[in-house]
């Protein structure tokens, strides 16, 4: 079995979100970068678990990003995976990124392609669905569990107000979220091994950008909290009813 895990580099969840160039650019100064949590905690760890069960499994990691994405992909390799591919380009357009990954997938013929359910920076939630359409494979979104027996995957996915269990034969593209696996901490052996694992750098395929970010904005600050005494709960209810019109 051959698995591709898509890895994205995102700012740490505690990073201060600020913009430079009059709102044109994300302010990167002082920002710590991490593996997108959905990619790391769920897709990557699930792929590693599948390899632990069946050591013949091959795991490739792929990231679309500049040289500054290499520490992130090395960190991912320290958790597991056999080799990594970095496609040497940067973009905020989901289609451009997905088309790069689909081009790799077209030659490598993966059985499973895992993505996170979204990245925590652009919140696109689109890469998996686009790759699936481009390679013409079934797409299962928002998975909360992934099991495989031979070439038949049994996947639980979130639907509105519940979950649905589906079966599908590989190849399949799956976007992962909580439930698929549990977060792991890399150990020293993994970190050492990651240094010598192959990291291939590919130049991007000629693809189109369909969108571009014009500018960023921060939300307007809150006016400030109105405190109500715990002995005067009726007053809170009145405010919620009359002032906020929320109940």
């Amino acid at each position: 079995m051959k698995i591709l895990v898509c890895i994205s580099k995102t700012p740490d969840t505690t990073a201060k979100i600020a913009f430079a160039d009059g709102g044109k650019k994300f302010e990167e100064a002082g920002v710590q970068w991490i593996i997108n949590p959905y990619d790391e905690w769920y897709s990557l760890v699930r792929a590693i678990e599948l390899k632990e069960k069946d050591p013949a499994t091959i795991i490739h990691l792929v990231t679309v990003g500049g040289a500054d994405a290499e520490p992130i992909i090395r960190k991912a390799l320290a958790l597991g995976g056999d080799e990594a591919i970095r496609i040497n380009t940067d973009s905020s357009d989901s289609f451009y990124i997905a088309a790069q990954i689909a081009a790799v997938a077209a030659t490598e013929k993966y059985d499973i392609i895992f993505t996170g359910k979204e990245t925590i920076d652009y919140n696109g939630a689109s890469i998996g669905g686009m790759i699936a359409a481009l390679v013409d494979a079934p797409y299962i979104s928002l998975a909360t569990s992934f099991l495989i027996e031979g070439s038949t995957a049994t996947i639980t996915r979130e639907i509105e107000g519940g979950e649905e269990v589906v079966t599908v034969n590989t190849p399949v593209v799956v976007s992962c979220q909580k439930g698929v696996a549990e977060q792991r901490i890399p150990n020293m052996r993994g970190i050492m091994a990651a240094r010598t694992k192959p990291l291939k750098v590919l130049e991007p395929a000629a693809e189109e950008h369909l969108t571009s970010i014009e500018s960023f904005e921060l939300p307007a600050p809150k006016a400030g909290v109105k405190l109500v005494s715990p002995d005067n709960i009726d007053e809170l209810v009145r405010l919620l009813h009359e002032e906020a019109k929320a109940i």
Binding site: G124, G129, M130, K178, T211, E214, L236, A246
Partner: protein, 321 residues
Amino acid sequence: MVLVYIDHQDNQIKKSTLEAVTYGVALAKQLGTEAHGLVLGNVNDDLAALGAYELKNVYQINDVALAHFDAQVFVKTIAAAATKVGATTLVFSHNQTGKAVCAGVSALLKAGLVTGAIELPKTDAGFVVKKTVFSGKAFANVSIQTAIKIISLSPNSFHTTTGAAATASITPLDIPVSAGHVKVSAVNKTSGEISLTEADIVVSGGRGLKGPENWGILLDLAKELGAATACSRPVGDAHWRPHHEHVGQTGVQVAPNLYIAIGISGAIQHLAGVNRSKTIVVINKDPEAPFFKAADYGIVGDAFEVLPKLTDAIKKMKASA
């Protein structure tokens, strides 16, 4: 033409879909064109009644292969339908189904996509859509450069307006539908619960409630308000509550009219998923809890005392209203 994807579940049209319909109709007016709907499969709800939202017409594709959801099949069918009817803008709701299909349609049509839109686009020069980024900590204005545009609308961002005295026509559309590869073997509905992303009011509990055995007072409040229930990440991780209730940067992102946070400290990752709520109420015994900085109303007090009193006060208010 603006084509709105009419999503349905259990034979009913979802609230988030009605928001997308309202949005699509407003967008069509802005662009000087018409809004039509597209529905795949059978719905019991009266599609003609969508005329009340000023939708002119609904295209309907019926095929046995559409009886259950398979993203690959739906994507191909929607893309073919959009081409056949000459849609220039497609609108989806950014709900679970929208997330499963809009990206694939974008890739097949090579149509620029903005997911999680929160406003109508600016179309005076170009086509620029505002969406949330950094899990609600900021917004981005994204320009779509392709002739065909696709928008998926963040639930609870756009209020439905209805009341037009009109009915929509229903036009069967003949599109060949390919057989799918996905078999649905079980559906587990958390029946009776209000969907978290669609709820008007969300009541959410954190570690301050000490243990799952104490959730009764929170559920009582939620029931009285007709609210959905949510929780902080450690509460989900400890299995005090089902993990689909976990909200925040790495959980579900919500934007209800009212969010009530009980015994939640207000960590930056939690706030990221809830700070688009219109009104935020925080109940916490620590006056220094960071959540108060993001709140509109707050009570510094012990949740175990405050909650039952709050539920009673709401009952009283309702009785006198």
